[in-house]
């Protein structure tokens, strides 16, 4: 005789109730979204008008999780950036030069004079005048090596020192490169995150992807180009002493100096201006604690900044000692301006001017506040989806889902009568459960995801069809209705399990290997399989049993 224990009934209905409750907020999408935004703003301490009313739009005791809409549905920008980790090798290795130079100078008696040669970007090539002492110099340099600061490469040293004739060559070791790469990407990720937070858009996705990549998705932003301007600028700011000013781009540069172009300034004859600068900066962007857009005394857009304690002192000392000399404000390898120091600048604050537009000064302030990227970014993939296209897609998806749902519902009743109706109830519960589960895990719904749901609508009835067909077969062999229902479920189960597990395998693989929209599809397909098996095997069965208990039919037509 068919029966289901009471605790199982309670459990099944509870799961259904919880699932539907979780799905509920999605039925009032804009309302709940306004509520959620208001709650967030209130948490941050905002006291703007109307927040309380917005918060009251949705009762706080109800779940407020929503299915995130993917970029293809909401519009926005998507970028896949690769961090140019090699940039950092250069800075790291060049930064070792003073230490190596000082050490080798002390050993002048044995190795002779030393001179830095022009070499590849990621190496130091040092020529030793006493050629027979190259090996000795190399082993001295090796003495400066430090262990790599990483768990996986414990014991390895940070530099590789080799010799080439009269030259000692210093490079970062492979282990150090790996450790540096990881640090660089993590730093870059943080900087990108804080820059996007500064701009203040809703729910950006910023994820590390693989070893060197960062995936950035910002809904609602107008174009990927705009996003690129915010995160693509390295924003390395330095304040460097000026040696001289020239229009000759091939001016001779001695060691410890560098020649950088001016951002816009042109000489009177229209030639671009170059500055010869001391390569060691007095202060850098890292010493900044704050930067705000403002205006200079002539009313032109400018950026106000403040140094931290140590930076302020260094800047103060430098300006006190160099009154009357120019110094350069350098941003990403370009001299923004090179004012002359008028007086001792104490207090650690100052202003950057340089023919900015209002947007430029606002953007620069954001960039300086968020900090500089440790390395440049290469953009491998960029997608902008307009909000209209997204809205059209949602609309089309909605209509298609409704029509598909209605067609399947009607068809099921035509084919299986009352049992078809039971299956239809289960199907509606099933769709509710999918949305509940999506909201619960905070998944993102994409256009292929909607297709996944529509496909699930079609396939969800499969488990029911299997059972009903089986019950029909069992009825043929003249068993009683109760026995036929029981056997129908029992015998169909192995087929349902096999069929759905295989589909689940493909959904899992899709999720693991796929990216972006494909993943969205895999999630809805996978969840759809789980919920449809649950509703077919448990919910429909429970409904059938409830009906059977009330009616006790002598015959059964499925």
């Amino acid at each position: 005789m068919i029966q289901i224990e009471t605790w199982k009934r309670v459990l099944i209905w509870s799961i259904v109730a919880v699932g539907l409750l979780l799905a509920l907020p999605n039925a009032f999408y804009t309302r709940v979204e306004t509520h959620n935004d208001a709650v967030k703003a209130l948490e941050k301490g905002s006291t703007a008008d109307g927040l309380a009313e917005q918060e009251a739009l949705w009762p706080g005791w109800l779940p407020s999780g929503l299915v995130n809409l993917g970029l293809d549905l909401r519009g926005g920008a998507h970028l896949l950036a690769e961090v140019k980790v090699e940039d950092v090798y250069k800075t790291r290795i060049k930064g070792m030069w003073p230490e190596i130079r000082d050490m080798l100078r002390e050993e002048r008696d044995t190795v002779g004079t030393i001179r830095l040669q022009k070499g590849a970007d990621d190496e130091l090539r040092i020529r030793i005048s006493n050629a027979d002492q190259t090996e000795r110099a190399a082993s001295l340099v090796r003495g400066l090596a430090r262990p790599v600061a990483s768990l996986t490469a414990a014991g390895a040293s940070d530099i590789d020192v080799t010799t080439d004739g009269q030259d000692v060559i210093v490079r970062l070791s492979e282990a150090e490169k790996v450790a540096t790469d990881d640090r660089t990407v993590r730093q870059a990720l943080e900087i990108v995150r804080s820059r996007i937070d500064e701009v203040g858009t809703r729910e950006p996705t910023i994820q590390r992807q693989g070893a060197k990549r960062i995936l950035i998705q910002v809904p609602g932003i107008g174009s990927a180009a705009e996003l690129k301007r915010i995160i693509g600028t390295t924003a390395q700011l330095t304040f460097q002493p000026v040696v001289s000013r020239t229009t000759d781009e091939n001016a001779s540069v001695s060691a410890g100096e560098e020649l950088l172009p001016a951002k816009e300034d042109k000489a009177t004859d229209g030639k671009p201006i170059y500055y010869l600068l001391d390569a060691v900066p007095v202060v850098t962007g890292e010493d900044l604690v704050d930067a705000q857009p403002s205006f200079d005394q002539n009313g032109f857009p400018a950026v106000n900044f403040r140094f931290d304690g140590a930076g302020g002192r260094r800047f103060g000392d430098y300006t006190a000692e160099n009154i009357g000399k120019p110094f350069a404000i350098v941003l990403d390898g370009k001299v923004i301006s090179a004012p002359t120091i008028q007086s001792h600048i104490a207090g650690g604050s100052g202003i950057i001017t340089g023919n900015f537009t209002l947007e430029e000064s606002t953007e620069l302030a954001v960039l300086l506040r968020a900090g500089a990227l440790p390395a440049g970014l290469d953009f491998l993939e960029e997608r902008t989806i307009g909000p209209e296209l997204g809205a059209d897609s949602i609309e089309a998806g909605k209509v298609a889902s409704l029509v598909a749902g209605a067609a399947v519902l009607i068809f099921m009743v035509l084919a299986y009568g009352l049992f078809g109706l039971f299956a239809d109830i289960a199907l509606l519960i099933n769709i509710g459960l999918i949305f509940g589960a999506l909201s619960l895990i905070g998944a993102t719904l994409t256009l292929p995801g909607i297709a996944g749901i529509v496909l699930t609508i079609g396939m969800a009835v499969d488990a029911n069809v299997l059972v009903f067909e089986r019950i029909r077969e069992e009825l043929k062999s003249a068993k009683g209705p109760a026995r036929a229902i029981d056997l129908g479920y029992e015998k169909a189960l192995s087929a349902i399990a096999d069929a759905n597990i295989t589909t689940l395998i493909t959904a899992v693989i899709l999720y693991a290997v796929g990216s972006g929209p494909v993943r969205g599809f895999a999630i809805t397909l996978g969840l759809g399989i789980i919920t449809s098996v649950f509703t077919a095997v448990y919910v429909t069965r429970l409904i059938v049993v409830l009906w059977f208990e009330r009616r006790r039919p002598k015959t059964l037509e499925v």
Binding site: E382, A451, G516, L525
Partner: protein, 322 residues
């Protein structure tokens, strides 16, 4: 009175012309392969890199004028296609412009996109750009690789699963049917040159899942009947099993097709290619689970002598109960 897609009881002999079906499938597979090898797929930017811009103008799209406007920029291979938001539209104001990946740049330079947009504005003044997508050659190469890995992994995993739950002959039959479905889908995409992008890979994998679903249901019944009718010849067992499950096979395929066709007609152009692949896959998958997988099984034969009488073999899931 119930609506039925097939009569209450069917006794169709599915293997009477098995040579014809296998031959037909084989021929189509060869045609698909030749088409793929000679003509190739119409890869989207996901797989070949480049930029696509979706434009909406006020007037109907004039492909020639658009082409001329962009050709002046010297951007290499540029393709312009009309996009029909509804499949029944006579003409359209929506176009998709694809520009090949540019030398020396990973993703598109903003200036290039601005140039193309400005050029189009000279032809259609009120044109707006709904989406701009750009994929660098580095990523597109990797995407192809992961796509191939995904499809191979899925087929491999399924092979192992069926092997564990059934016999190796079943697994081989199911996988040959899968390869058949995937190949025919790639074949139709190459033959009518529909854009082949990442979403189509998702569709391919779903087809793998769906076709398998069908095959497994038939096989499950075959396994049951093999135990029930120990003396019945294999061909008869197979026929009986297919006939018994035929009602379910057609019902499920029909409801799925109902949903998919609604999506094809009403779901907008962005996913139309994707949905087309699925519809094709459901049709081919249903066919192959009956005419390819089972025929292969017949051809390979199955071990009938169950030396260990084990009533529960293969039904360990029967323990799951409400």
């Amino acid at each position: 009175m119930r609506l039925r897609l097939v009569p209450k009881e069917t006794k169709i002999d599915f293997f009477k012309r098995w040579k014809l079906w296998l031959g037909l499938s084989g021929t189509f597979m060869v045609i698909a392969l030749v088409s793929f090898l000679t003509q190739g797929l119409n890869y989207g930017i996901d797989f070949r890199g480049g930029t696509t811009i979706r434009s909406v103008a006020e007037q109907p799209v004039d492909v020639g004028a658009y082409r001329q406007a962009i050709a002046a920029l010297g951007l290499g291979d540029v393709s312009i296609s009309k996009v029909f938001v509804n499949p029944t539209d006579a003409d359209t104001t929506v176009a998709l412009i694809r520009v090949q990946a540019q030398e020396g740049a990973e993703s598109a330079r903003p200036e290039m996109i601005a140039q193309v947009e400005a050029a189009l504005q000279t032809v259609a003044p009120k044109i707006v750009f709904e989406s701009v997508e750009s994929v660098g050659p580095k990523v597109s190469g990797e995407l192809i690789q992961t796509a191939v890995i995904a499809v191979t992994l899925a087929i491999g995993a399924v092979l192992i699963y069926i092997w564990m739950r059934f016999e190796w002959q079943f697994a081989l039959g199911a996988v040959i049917a899968l390869v058949h479905d995937v190949l025919l889908t790639i074949g139709i995409f190459s033959e009518i040159q529909i854009k082949f992008d990442l979403a189509i890979i998702a569709a391919l994998l779903t087809i793998v899942g769906y076709s398998l679903n069908d095959t497994v249901i038939v096989f499950d019944r075959v396994r049951e009947n093999l135990r029930k009718f120990k003396q019945m010849p294999l061909a008869e067992v197979l026929n009986l099993s297919i006939n018994e499950t035929l009602s379910r096979t057609t019902m499920t395929s029909f409801t799925t097709l109902l949903a998919l066709i609604a999506l094809y007609v009403l779901g907008g152009d962005v996913i139309r290619g994707f949905v087309f692949a699925m519809i094709w896959g459901v049709v081919v998958g249903t066919y192959s689970s009956i005419f390819v997988a089972s025929t292969i099984l017949l051809w390979l034969g199955v071990k009938r002598d169950w030396s260990k009488p084990d009533a529960n073999a293969g039904t360990q899931f029967a323990g799951i109960d409400a």
